[in-house]
Each structure stands twice: as C-alpha cells, then as structure tokens.
C-alpha cells in the first residue's frame, strides 16, 4: 500500500477514540479531502521545483507509536537551554512528556494542543484561531490538519510579558523503525503581550523520521513575538515546517531559522499583515554539508499601508549539499508606504554544492520601498590570504570568514544564552574552535 493510501485509510481509526468538538472534526475531515485530492507535492509544482520529497514517502512510516518511549533526562538535557529558566513543552514520538515538561496556566497558558482541542473551556479560542490562517489548498498543511491532535498551545493574555522563554521540543526516540510525526502548534500573543519561543525537532537515534509540522501564530496589536527555530537534527531526520503568522497593527514579529542539520528540511514561512505599522523580521543561517538539503520558502504579504519587513538569509554550502531560497514579497495596492527588504547571500565551499535562489516580488502599490538582492559566491581568496598571513591556519581562517559572513543574522538574537548556543553549534559545524567567546 502506498503511504498516501495508508494515511487516508488510517484516519478513521485515528479519530475514533478522540473526544472532538464537531467543528474540529469537520475541519479535519475536509482537510483530509484536500490531501486525498492533491496528494503529496511533486517537483512539477513551481513551489516544489527544487525540493523533492518523492524518496521520503517511499517508506512505510508508523503513524501512531505503539508504546510510550521513556528517555533518560541526562540524555536530552543538552538539547534544552539549560542555563536559562524556561517553560518547556516536550514531546517524545509525538506524545507529551509531563516528566520533561514545565508547563503553566499561571497568568498565561503554556500547555497542550490536545487539551485545547478537546476541553470545552478552550472551544471559543479554537473556533476563533484553529486553522484560520493555514492555507486550505496546501496539501501537506491539510494533511497535518487532518491529523491535528497534539503539539504546543500557547496563549499570552493582554499586557502580559512572558518572563521565561518557552521551549517546544519534539524528540523521536528511535523505538519505531520509521516514524511520521505531525505536530500542530497554536500560539496567540494577545494585545501588548510579549513572548520568546524556541522550537526544535530532535532524533535521539539514527532512524528515518519525517516531521510535517504546522504552527499558526497570532500576534495582536502592539504585541512582540520572537521565534527561534533550531534545526540541527541527525542526518536521518527530515522536516517539513509550515509556520503561518498573522500580525495586527503595531506588532513586531521575528522568526530566526538556524538550519545546520537534518536530511531534508523545507521551511514554509508566511507572514500576513492585518494592520498598519507592523514590523516583520525573517532571518536565517543555513550551513550544510554532505547531501543535506534545505529549502526556505518565505512569503510576506503586505496588505496594509506603512508596514515594514526585513528578510535576511545566509547560506553556506559544502560538499554536495543543496540550498533553495524562494522569497516572495506581495504588496497589495492598498499597502502604500511599504518598506520591504530581502537579502539572500550564499557561499559555495565546494564545487558540487548547489544553490537555487529566487526572489519573487509582486508589487501593486506605487509608493513603496522594496529591495532584494541575492548573491552566490566563494570565499574571497584575498581575505583568506590576509588571515593566513597572520598565522591563522587555512581551516580556521575559512571558518572565521564563514562565521563573519553569517554573523549579522546572529546579531539580532535577543537571548544571550541562545546566541552563545547557536555560536557554539555553528563553530562545531564548521569544525573549529573559533578561538574566542562570541
């Protein structure tokens, strides 16, 4: 049986023992129909031209892990931001781990999607927010919606500043031969509220895992959201991440994506503006080697006047790795005085590495400032010689230059402990000790 067939035929059994509100059931049923009709995306579609998931879907993945895996806290501690006190929503093979988590209902909600989807007290919120911005015609998002059950649910009420950052971590234990995960997160940052969120997906053993994750985020008037995606998984893990963000007037939202690991990663990141004076920031550092593949597909939809967006993605590709950047900026006719900027700069370390970069600007307003630039190059030989002439060995010199290249993306990371962590990961990925604390 093809994996698509398995997904469709397993759905009935999946829903059977869930105590669902009718509206959620309907949403899922119609999402399943969309997936049934469209199937998995193929390279024939423009949006998937350079990324094929064909090979990924040949396996027979387990959809529901048979048993709850237990993992030792000492084995996973290193994946937490341990030197900072955080709220934690932790899952193992898609199942919530109360033991590793640190949730709260005290002044703000940091809890579970399963609770939000089933408990009557959340019904109104779910009816207002669940699956309201995820595009209906995206087959993988529809597939996620049809199986939406578990994930993080975060609600930051009006005027509340979340004192601690929130970590959302999905572990896969390796107990299943091959595993298909579909976490679903919902995050609501109400008026004038602030929150910082860190998300990662991590395999603990080499085994085939595909995560098809969907996150919907609402950033209300005057609210601040900083979201960090740490993608440094094992080479057996693939991730299709779709994050949809709606911003109301005078809100700030930033998403930083650090893609260092994994086998195949697709990041769909979309921002929609629903008010004036909004600031959106999308930044990414991608450092790949081997046959790793990362595809960033971004969209900022400027639908109101006087808003600003900044996109800055840096990529460093070694060996046979592949990078894709498809950055879309859409400026509606009404969205005058828009400032929209986009940068994608890439360095190819080896001859066999490839990058496909495509800016896509569709501007219907006439009084706007929009710019885009993409570059693909090699490390500058003259600069390399400069560093080496100071006694810095070639490998370290390359790393230092690569670090310098990626650095301005890190400059806007607000959490010092996270910044240090990412610096460490980048240095490790580049295979060197940078020789100084950053």
């Amino acid at each position: 049986m093809e994996f698509k067939e398995k997904l469709i035929s397993s759905h009935l059994a999946f829903e059977e023992d869930l105590n669902l509100d009718d509206s959620v059931h309907e949403t899922r049923a119609s999402a399943l129909k969309v997936f049934e009709e469209k199937g998995f995306p193929s390279k024939r579609e423009e949006a998937w031209k350079y990324t094929s998931i064909e090979a990924l879907i040949q396996k027979d993945y387990a959809l529901f892990p048979k048993s709850e895996a237990s993992i030792n806290v000492n084995d996973v501690k290193k994946y937490f931001l341990y030197d900072t006190d955080t709220y934690k929503v932790i899952f193992i093979d898609g199942i919530y781990s109360p033991f590793l988590s640190n949730t709260t209902h005290d002044g703000l909600d940091v809890c579970l999607m399963s609770a939000a989807l089933t408990k009557p007290k959340y019904r109104e919120l779910i009816n207002t927010y669940f699956n309201k911005i995820a595009p209906e015609d995206d087959s993988l998002t529809a597939l996620n919606t049809s199986y939406a059950k578990e994930g993080a649910y975060i609600y930051i009420p009006k005027n509340i500043v979340a004192e601690k950052p929130i970590e959302i971590i999905h572990f896969s234990s390796g107990n299943e031969n091959a595993l298909w995960l579909q976490p679903r997160n919902l995050i609501v940052v109400d008026q004038n509220a602030q929150v910082q969120i860190i998300e990662r997906h991590q395999s603990l053993k080499e085994h085939p895992v595909v995560t098809n994750c969907v996150t919907e985020i609402y950033v209300h008037q005057d609210a601040f959201l900083d979201y960090y995606k740490l993608q440094n998984d094992l080479p057996s893990a693939s991730l299709i991440d779709s994050t949809y963000i709606v911003q109301e007037k005078k809100s700030h939202a930033s998403v930083h994506t650090f893609s260092l690991g994994g086998k195949l990663t697709r990041n769909n990141l979309r921002f929609f503006h629903k008010g004036e004076h909004i600031m959106s920031t999308l930044k990414g550092v991608t450092i790949l080697h081997g046959k790793q593949h990362v595809d960033h597909a971004t969209l900022v939809h400027h639908a109101q006047p006087n808003c600003e967006s900044h996109q800055d993605y840096k990529g460093i590709f070694a060996e046979r790795s592949e990078g894709v950047f498809n950055g879309q900026i859409l400026v509606d006719k009404i969205a005058q005085k828009t400032n929209a900027f986009q940068q994608n700069n890439n360095i190819l370390i080896d001859d066999q590495a490839t990058v496909n970069t495509k800016p896509q600007l569709e501007i219907f307003a006439d009084d706007v400032k929009c710019s885009h630039g993409c570059t693909i190059g090699q490390l500058d030989e003259e600069a390399l010689f400069y560093l080496r002439s100071r006694g810095i060995p070639k490998k370290e010199a390359k790393a230092l230059m690569t670090y310098a290249f990626a650095n301005n993306v890190l400059a806007s990371v607000q959490l010092p402990s996270l910044k240090k962590r990412i610096n460490g990961q980048i240095a490790k990925k580049l295979g060197v000790n940078l020789g100084f604390d950053l």
């Binding site: 500058d380 030989e381 400069y386 080496r388 002439s389 006694g391 370290e396 010199a397 020789g435």
Partner: protein, 252 residues
Amino acid sequence: MLTIENLHAEVEGKAILKGIDLDVKAGEVHAIMGPNGSGKSTLSSLIAGNEEYQLTKGKMLLRGKDLIELDAEERAHEGIFLSFQYPVEIPGVSVTNFIKTAINANRKAKGLEDMPASELLKKIREKAKLLDIDSKFLSRSLNEGFSGGEKKRNEIFQMAMLEPSLSILDETDSGLDIDALKIVANGVNKLKNKDNATIVITHYQRLLDYIVPDFVHVLFDGRIVKSGTKELAHELEAKGYDWIKELASHGV
C-alpha cells in the same frame, strides 16, 4: 635573515619578477622603491606566501629555512609579517578577537598554550597606546568602515602584537595624512631592534624621512636595477623614475 636568489615569478602566465636578489640581515631596514607595475607588491605577496603568484625559479630562505615549501600561515609562524596595502574587512569579528585568534594560532604552532587573558589585555593596551589607538576602536569589526589611516594603523598594531622577525610594509604610507604617517612611522621605529628586520615598499620617498632605511633598492620591470643607501631615495625623489628606466634599458 632573508636571502632571496634569482627569484622569478609569474601570475596567470605573465612574468612579473625576472630575477631578484636580496639579502636582508637582522637589525636592518631595506626600502624597495619603484614605479607602479614594477613588481613591488608581487615581491611582498610572494614572500608572505600568496598562492596567487607562481614562483618559477629561484630561492627564498628565512634564516636558512626554505620558505617556498611553507604555506602563508607557516611563514607567519616563522616570523614573517606583511602589512597589507589594502587590508581586508572582516565584519562581525572585532579587532581584539581577531588579534587574539592570530596570537593564539601562532602560539599553538609553537606548542604554547593560549596567552592568558590578562597578559593579552595588558599587551593590547600597551601596543594600542604606542599607536595612539583608542579602546573603542578595538571593539569595532576588523577594518569594516575604517578610514585609510585607521586601516594602516591597525596593520601596524597587529605587527606590534605579533612581534615578527621580518616585517614587510607594503605601501603603508598610501592614503595617510602627515600626522597619521608620523604615528605609524614612530610605531615602526619603536618596534625595531637588533633581532628583527623591516622591508619598506613604497613608491614615494616621503615615508623614508620617518623610517630611515639602511639600504634602498630600485625595482623596475621585475629586476632590482640599482641598490644604494638612503641617498638613493632622495635622488629618486629629485629626478623621478625616468633615469632608472633609461638605466634599465641600457644596463641589461
């Protein structure tokens, strides 16, 4: 210290150096002068180990050790320092972090531990003072947005920190006003001792008023066509390079 014999080099198949002989002893300052395109910068890059140039013939020894076999970083470990005409910008890496990386890389090559932070800071303060560099400058990204003078001063600062045995100053005076020139020259002079040597590469005699050479060599069309003492620099300043060109065409 540095012995160069019959050095030939080319870049992309074009001969640039056509037989250079040079002998620099410890404690000496040599000036290499010459018109644009005579091969001055090629010579300095070649000594420092720039792989862009192909050495086709000849010898290059530092304290009897064959330099040709060594990579740029290994030459630095042996004590060679090149002050660049156009220093490279490295955004995101501060002057302090850069110099720390360089110093510890050199120490590591010698089998030494990293320099203790307090010692490093003390040395940085001392050398910054020598070159009239303020502490704010040290936390800026290396060469990024630096003025011409700041870049050159930073080069000599690095030289002061690394304490090389052979320093090559490639057009260090270009882009400097007279005050900056004096500071840089003063720094170079204070770093001079009986154990190290300096090669000053320049188009103009101006810098040599402040860094007084023991020997002056005139490079033209890939060869040293005349060598002398500091008076030769004054002669060049007064007469220009035309008579040298004449000399070269008759003499060879």
